[in-house]
Symmetry: C2
């Protein structure tokens, strides 16, 4: 019987590792996750992952042929195959490609979640027809994956695409990166909470937000309040969209993309965030770009974005001409 | 006798058109210019250019083989071969590739001066070993050419690379583009004059700059004053370098280049501008980029940058694989 080609997409997060076996068209053959354990060395994590995978895969392995593995993880570096100083994972320096290839002797490639999301949109989502676009993930931080002429921009050392850490306010909010005024301190699920806090301090408007300690506040609660007409919550979305729109106008001047795709977290608020973002981007665009750049919501089901992205990453890699193939084999 | 392959590089400016016949190694075979005439239709300009070129070329045409023509001009669009709404040239819509091919039946390609400069640096200047870098020209405006993985970033419609029109000060200085706060209103030969004017208004320091009407002020005069210890002139360079350094820190976060190359105008002030630019870029860089990005002065003789760039553009184009060749032939 002929087998169907599939790849394994893996998403590493602070609390769990999710994986999915996916064919060329983005169909899931299987999907599972394992929890992260505190202080577990990466070696044993990948051993557990391999065991869990084989338990499920063994029953279908006669029907499918596993060609490669794509991994999406915070601060993962495509060029080196490593994860460096990840505060989310508490890993110092881990060569993921090498480790994974201890258990699977096939091509493995890794990139950060935002780049993976961009590749996922390009292969399976709303970016199928775009050669130049910017993918923005609006989670706890702001991730970005930049596609130029059909390829992810990795830059010299694999770390390009940090739009979330461009400075938008001199001496602005303190950022986890140690600097101040980074875009992600304003435009992210954590950023909008800070904005609500600032608005509550600045204005006297009544707001249900005054009943919630900042530590219990979530972007979902702000979304619900906004939908119910809360002035502060609505202003927070407006302000967040303005910051994002102004930054995107700058990014467009540099990159001239066809579209900007928003996914995860704040992006799930739909028009509440997309409308002010569009408005302020257009308002700030150079004339020659006005009316030309779309802002779109992700075309991928949330939760699967990173896995589909990791799969797109390895499919992309497997199709590259041999001389440009960057898939690394452990020696 | 065997002939030597050469290309023609053309630079179109507001007041003149310069051209040079250049071999693969950047050696000039000949170099000449013709003046622009007010209200002259582009057709007759290129006719004059062709005549002037043939007058000189005829005496050496047995030794050289002209393979193609590269053109560098403000707002020139690589993707369409056109110059659109150029305020410098007072041209509305001119298909330069078509026009040039009326007189020369060989491949012709066009791009803006900053992209041409980037290609010139890559082939003949200080960027020979860089796959990822940003070229900044600091003339009356601020032009930028972005190279990712060895190729110019043109973006969707050929207009990428407008770092000069990223907004750096909300409600800041009025810009020729109709907006406010663009980087080039601060960082350019015209920008530093505005900065001097602002500093003279803000402070009471004695300065030779107070003797010069703003209309007669030039970046050269500011440079000379700075060298002679004038406080205002020195502060102007410091402030300009700070604005540029902060912007470059953002550009590095997005693109992760190996180097940034400064050329023309303000860049000729050397360390006066490069030192504060480096300092403030480093200060504002994300940790993972610190100490990794060089700031270099152009490696090309000034005045020839655009011509050499235009030559590099057409050499680059002639060497592309056929299926990606974008050289346009007029029908």
């Amino acid at each position: 019987m002929a087998t169907i080609d599939v790849v394994l997409g893996v998403e590493i997060e602070g609390t769990r590792v999710s994986f999915g076996l996916v064919d060329k068209f983005g169909n899931y053959v299987l999907e599972e996750k394992i929890p992260m354990k505190a202080h577990e060395p990466p070696e044993s994590l990948f051993l557990r992952l391999n065991k869990k995978f084989n338990d499920i895969y063994s029953s279908v392995s006669d029907k499918y042929k596993l060609l490669g593995i794509g991994v999406a993880a915070p601060t993962a570096n495509y060029a080196t195959g490593t994860i460096e100083n990840s505060s989310n994972l508490n890993w110092k320096h881990v060569n993921v490609v090498e480790l994974v290839q201890k258990y699977w002797d096939i091509p493995v490639v890794i990139t950060n979640d935002a780049n993976a999301a961009a590749l996922g949109e390009a292969r399976y989502g709303v970016a199928k027809n775009f050669k130049n676009f910017i993918q923005i993930t609006l989670g706890t931080g702001l991730g970005s994956g930049i596609v130029v002429d059909g390829n992810i921009v990795y830059g010299t050392d694999g770390f390009a695409g940090e739009i979330g850490h461009t400075t938008v306010v001199r001496n602005g909010r303190h950022c986890g990166c140690g600097r101040q005024g980074c875009l992600e301190t304003y435009v992210s699920t954590s950023g909008i909470i800070r904005t609500v806090s600032e608005l509550l301090a600045m204005h006297n408007d009544e707001s249900v937000m005054r009943e919630i300690p900042i530590h219990e506040m979530t972007s979902k609660l702000i979304y619900k309040a906004a939908i119910n007409g809360d002035v502060v919550a609505n202003t927070a979305f407006e302000t967040t969209g303005q910051m994002l729109g102004e930054s995107l106008a700058n990014a467009v001047a540099i990159l001239s993309p066809e579209a900007i795709i928003l996914s995860e977290g704040l992006a799930l608020a739909g028009d509440l965030i997309i409308r002010p973002t569009k408005f302020h981007m257009e308002k700030n665009l150079l004339n020659l770009f006005k009316g030309k750049v779309q802002i779109l919501a992700s075309g991928l089901t949330t939760g699967n974005v990173a896995i589909l992205g990791a799969c797109a990453l390895i499919w992309h890699e497997l199709q590259l001409p041999k001389h440009t193939l960057r898939v690394v084999y452990a020696e």
